[in-house]
C-alpha cells in the first residue's frame, strides 16, 4: 500500500530557560492510505506535540521542529512556508482536538464556523457553502441542520460540539484526519457514538486517520496499526492484530494490563505501571522506561535502545527475549491454573 504520511526522525520541543526541551525526540512512523493508526501513551508522552508538528501548528505555541522530515503525499511539510501550510491545513490534513467544549469560537454561530472552513479552501458563494454545511452536519449525525447552523456553541452539548468539529474537519474532504483524543472529555456512550462515526466516515471517505488516545481500549476498537509512545519516543509499532494478541514492549504490556479485564468469574484485574512519566527536563539515561521497567538490566540504564525491526513489528527494547520468555511462562501458568 502506498504511504500518505511518513514521519522521519522528528524532533520537536520547546526552548526552556537554558536548554531546548525535546517533547518529541526522534520519532519515525508511516501512515498508509485508508489506514487508522492509533498513537497510544500516557499523558505527557508527546502525542499532541507530534500531531501539532504534522499540522505545523506547534510554532504558534512556542514550540519548534528542530529536526526531521514529515513527508505528506511526497512533499516535505517541514519545508513548507506559511502560505503553503495554510493550503494544507483544514484541506488535505484536518485535525480535531481534545477539548470539544472550548474548541469552537463562542461568539460565532456553528454555521458561520463551518462555512468559513469551506470557504477557506473552495471558492464557492456563501449560499452554496451553507448548503454544503447542512450536508456536512447531517453527515456527522446531527438532525435539524437549519436550526443547528444558527445556534451558538454554548447551545450545544459536548458530544454535539465534537460532531461539529468533525464536520469542520471534513469540510474539504481531507486525506488525513488527525483526531487528538477526540473522546477523552466525553462520557462513555457519547464516546462510542463518536468512534462509530469516525469509523463510518473513514469507510465512506476513504481517508486515513491518525487517532491519538491514552485509552488502549479505544485503540483496540479502532486501530489498524498501533504506535506506543513514551516520553517522546516510540516504544513499539505493530499491527493491531499482533499487538493485542501479544504486545512485546514492557511498556505496551503495562498499558494493556492496566486495563480492567473481565476474566472469568468476576475477576477485574488492574495492574497499572508503577511510577510516573519523567518530565522533559529530567529524562532518564539509557532506556527512558528503565526506572519503571520490571525487566530493566544494567545495559538498559546505560544505553538507549533503538526502534528495531522484530518480526513484523518495530520494538525499542534490549530484552525482548526475556520479555517473551516471561510471557510464555505466564501463559503456561495460567493454562495450568485453568
Amino acid at each position: 500500500m502506498d504511504k500518505i504520511l511518513q514521519v522521519k526522525n522528528l524532533v520537536t520541543g520547546y526552548q526552556g530557560k537554558n536548554t531546548f526541551m525535546k517533547a518529541v525526540d526522534g520519532v519515525s512512523f508511516d501512515i498508509d492510505r485508508g489506514e487508522t493508526v492509533c498513537i497510544v501513551g500516557e499523558s505527557g508522552s508527546g502525542k499532541s506535540v507530534t500531531s501539532m508538528s504534522i499540522m505545523r501548528l506547534i510554532e504558534y505555541e512556542n514550540g519548534k521542529i528542530i529536526e526531521g522530515d514529515i513527508i505528506f503525499n511526497g512533499e516535505n511539510i517541514v519545508e513548507k512556508n506559511n502560505y503553503e501550510m495554510r493550503k494544507i491545513r483544514g484541506s488535505k490534513i484536518s485535525m480535531i482536538f481534545q477539548e470539544p467544549l472550548t474548541a469552537l469560537n463562542p461568539v460565532f454561530t456553528i454555521g458561520r464556523q463551518i462555512v468559513e472552513a469551506i470557504r477557506f479552501h473552495q471558492s464557492v458563494k456563501k449560499k452554496e457553502a451553507y448548503k454544503q454545511a447542512e450536508e456536512l452536519i447531517q453527515l456527522v449525525g446531527i438532525s435539524d441542520p437549519r436550526t443547528r447552523l444558527k445556534q451558538y456553541p454554548y447551545e450545544l452539548s459536548g458530544g454535539m460540539r465534537q460532531r461539529v468539529m468533525i464536520a469542520i474537519a471534513l469540510a474539504s474532504n481531507p486525506q488525513l484526519l488527525i483526531a487528538d483524543e477526540p473522546t477523552t472529555a466525553l462520557d462513555v456512550t457519547i464516546e462510542a457514538q463518536i468512534l462509530d462515526l469516525l469509523r463510518k466516515l473513514k469507510k465512506e471517505k476513504k481517508m486515513s486517520i491518525m487517532l491519538i488516545t491514552h485509552d488502549i481500549g479505544v485503540a483496540a476498537e479502532m486501530a489498524d496499526k498501533v504506535i506506543i509512545m513514551y516520553a517522546g519516543k516510540i516504544m513499539e509499532i505493530s499491527s493491531a492484530e499482533d499487538f493485542f494478541e501479544n504486545p512485546i514492549h514492557p511498556y505496551s504490556r503495562g498499558l494493556l494490563e492496566s486495563v480492567p479485564k473481565m476474566t472469568g468469574e468476576r475477576g477485574v484485574k488492574l495492574n497499572s505501571i508503577s511510577g510516573s512519566i519523567p518530565s522533559l527536563s529530567n529524562v532518564p539515561s539509557g532506556c527512558r522506561f528503565s526506572p519503571r521497567c520490571p525487566f530493566a538490566t544494567e545495559q538498559c540504564i546505560n544505553q538507549e535502545p533503538v526502534l528495531e525491526k522484530f518480526k513484523d513489528r518495530q520494538v525499542a527494547c534490549w530484552n525482548i527475549d526475556n520479555v517473551l520468555r516471561d510471557h510464555l511462562k505466564n501463559q503456561t501458568d495460567s493454562e495450568v491454573f485453568q
Partner: protein, 315 residues
C-alpha cells in the same frame, strides 16, 4: 428588549433618587451659603430677605421635597448666581462637554485597541516594551501638569494653538478654529483613558489568543489576519467594552480639570462655578444630568455587549 429597558428604567429612577438625596444633604451640610447671601455690602436685613426669597429658612427636608416635586415636572429651579433657569444654564454648557468626551472616546478607541493588539501579538518585543512604557507614563503624569506644559509649548512658545476657550461658534465658526481649540483638551483627556484601553486590550487579547478555539481556526487554514482581527478580536472586545463603561465616569471627572485648564466652557467649568457660589439648584441640576449621562452610557455599553457576546441574553 422592552422588558430589559423597563427594568433598567426602574433601577435608574431609584439610583437617581439616592444620588440626589446624598448630594442635596451634603451640599447643605457644607459650611458657607449661596454667594448672593454672603456679600459684604449687603445689610443684615437684605441678607435675611434674600435667604427667605431663596427659601433657605425652611428645613432641609422640606426644601428637598419641594425641589424633588419640581424636578419631576422638569423644573430644576433657578440658578442662585445668575437668576436663569438651571435647565437653560446646563443646556448651554452640556454640548461642549459632550463634544470633548465623544472625541476623546472615539480617538482613544481608534488608537488604543490597535496598539493594544500590536502589543499583545508582539509581546516581549521592543514595540511592546515601548508601548508599556508610555502606558505607565500616561497613567502617572497628572493631567493639570501635562496641560500646563502643552500650553507652555504650543501656545506660548510656538504660538500654534490657542490656550483657552472653545473657539468661535455660530456664524463665525471655522473648522481650523474649532479643531485648534479642541486639540489640547482632547489630548489631555485622552491621556486619562487611553493607557487603560491599551493595557486592557493587550491583556484581553493575550488571554484570548491562548484559547483552544484559536488553535481550531488556525487548523482550518485561516490566515493570521483572520485569526487575530476577526476571531480573537471579537472575543477580546467583550471585556474591553466593559472597561470602557467603567472609564466613562472617570472621563467626566477628568473633564472638570481639563475644562478648567483650557477655559473650556462645558459642564466641568460650570460645576466649579456652581460649587464655588454655593449655587444649590445648579449643583443639583448638574448632578442629575451627569448621573443620567452615566446611566445612559452604561445602557449603551450593555446593549453593545449583548450584541458582541451571544451568551448574554435578554437585551
Amino acid at each position: 428588549m422592552l422588558k430589559f429597558l423597563i427594568n433598567r428604567f426602574g433601577q435608574s429612577i431609584i439610583l437617581l433618587l439616592i444620588v440626589t438625596v446624598i448630594t442635596f444633604f451634603l451640599i447643605n451640610l457644607a459650611p458657607g451659603g449661596p454667594s448672593s447671601t454672603m456679600r459684604m455690602d449687603a445689610s443684615p436685613e437684605e441678607r435675611q430677605a434674600m435667604v427667605e426669597k431663596l427659601g433657605l429658612d425652611q428645613p432641609v427636608i422640606v426644601r428637598y421635597a419641594s425641589w424633588l416635586k419640581g424636578a419631576f415636572s422638569g423644573d430644576l429651579g433657578t440658578s442662585f448666581t445668575s437668576n436663569e433657569p438651571v435647565v437653560q444654564r446646563i443646556a448651554e454648557r452640556l454640548p461642549y462637554t459632550i463634544e470633548l468626551t465623544i472625541f476623546t472616546i472615539i480617538i482613544s478607541i481608534i488608537i488604543g485597541i490597535p496598539i493594544g493588539i500590536l502589543s499583545a501579538i508582539k509581546r516581549g518585543s521592543v514595540p511592546d516594551h515601548i508601548i508599556n512604557f508610555f502606558s505607565v507614563v500616561g497613567l502617572s503624569v497628572p493631567a493639570f501638569w501635562l496641560g500646563l506644559m502643552l500650553i507652555l509649548l504650543f501656545s506660548i512658545n510656538l504660538g500654534w494653538l490657542p490656550s483657552s476657550g472653545v473657539g468661535a461658534r455660530g456664524v463665525d465658526f471655522n473648522l481650523w478654529g474649532w479643531i485648534s481649540h479642541l486639540i489640547m483638551p482632547v489630548l489631555i483627556l485622552t491621556t486619562t483613558i487611553l493607557p487603560n484601553i491599551v493595557r486592557f486590550t493587550r491583556s484581553s487579547m493575550l488571554e484570548v489568543i491562548s484559547q483552544n478555539y484559536i488553535r481550531t481556526i488556525r487548523a482550518k487554514g485561516a490566515k493570521e489576519s483572520i485569526v487575530i482581527y476577526i476571531h480573537a478580536l471579537r472575543n477580546a472586545l467583550i471585556p474591553i467594552i466593559t472597561i470602557i463603561g467603567v472609564l466613562i465616569p472617570r472621563l467626566l471627572s477628568g473633564a472638570v480639570i481639563t475644562e478648567a485648564i483650557f477655559g473650556w466652557t462645558g459642564i466641568g467649568t460650570l460645576i466649579l462655578e456652581a460649587a464655588r457660589g454655593r449655587d444649590y439648584p445648579l449643583v443639583m441640576g448638574i448632578t442629575i444630568v451627569i448621573t443620567i449621562v452615566v446611566i445612559l452610557c452604561n445602557l449603551i455599553v450593555d446593549i453593545v455587549y449583548s450584541r458582541v457576546d451571544p451568551r448574554v441574553k435578554n437585551v
